[in-house]
């Protein structure tokens, strides 16, 4: 056995040892698992009103957490952003409801619609009490296909109504889930629509 082969073998062993130490050390989690980019948490102001009937203005959040999945979403300025959420996601709180924006990993061997109907909706049926679908529709905005699922369920003994919009993307799908108590849903419905329509991929071209 010559020296070169022995040194390659020794180098490989060292590299594997280094890889093992790096992967399982606390430091590596920071580099391997996506982290929240502070830029994502600072909204820019948009002085355009939500819709013709409301004077409330929107804050625009530019999410820069995951490469290939940069997006913007606009929410009313008075909605409160909940801190410490995973990379790529936001949770906003407002009276009698919540709205979340997140990225969803759809397996390569499935389409978004198939995934929604076969996996995600059945998961909702199992996890939510008294789940009942009230509407399902497919719309297209700015070339993005959006699948919109509306359902009612009971959360903390309150009947709530939720609109869940899945926005197709090149890598991951965008997922907006806006929920409020059923009796206030009509009041928020146009705002939820505006939030869903505001979702845009930033690096889709």
């Amino acid at each position: 056995m010559n020296k070169v082969v022995i040194s390659i073998f020794a180098f490989a062993l060292l590299a594997l040892g280094g890889l093992t130490a790096y992967t399982f050390s606390p430091l590596s989690k920071k580099n391997v698992v996506p982290q929240v980019n502070p830029v994502s948490l600072v909204p820019t102001e948009n002085n355009i009103p939500i819709n013709s009937t409301s004077s409330a203005v929107l804050d625009v959040y530019h999410n820069r957490d995951m490469a290939e999945n940069y997006y913007t979403v606009s929410v009313p300025k008075n909605w409160k952003l909940e801190p410490n959420k995973p990379a790529g996601s936001y949770t906003f709180l407002f009276p009698n409801g919540t709205c979340t924006a997140e990225l969803m990993d759809v397996p390569d061997n499935s389409t978004l619609e198939l995934y929604i109907l076969s996996q995600d909706e059945s998961a909702l049926k199992h996890s939510l009490s008294h789940y009942s679908r009230t509407n399902y529709q497919k719309i297209s905005i700015d070339g993005n296909e959006i699948y919109q699922l509306t359902y009612t369920s009971i959360t903390s003994r309150i009947l709530s109504k939720t609109v869940r919009a899945y926005i197709s993307g090149q890598d991951r799908a965008g997922l907006l889930t806006c929920s409020s108590a059923q009796d206030t849903f009509t009041q928020y419905s146009s705002v939820f629509d505006a939030v869903i329509k505001s979702f845009k991929w930033e690096n889709s071209k």
Binding site: N2, V4, F11, A12, T23, V32, D105, P107
Partner: protein
């Protein structure tokens, strides 16, 4: 025998590169994919190199 070893090494290297670059990793498996893909790539690449240098050293000896 050496050719079989080279063939297996190339297979390991290619599989490692596939997991590293092309496999659609579910969110829950990012860490394990990071480790396994690089482990296979390093093992495969070093095995291929060892095979090449081993062969060439044998050839040199027989020429001498």
């Amino acid at each position: 025998m050496r050719q079989l070893f080279l063939f297996i090494s190339l297979g390991v290297l290619c599989f490692g590169i596939y997991l590293w670059q092309f496999y659609d990793v579910p969110d829950s498996q990012i860490m394990i994919n990071f480790y396994v893909s690089r482990f296979l790539a390093i093992s495969g690449a070093s095995s291929v190199l060892m095979n090449i240098f081993w062969s060439s050293s044998k050839k040199r000896k027989s020429e001498e």
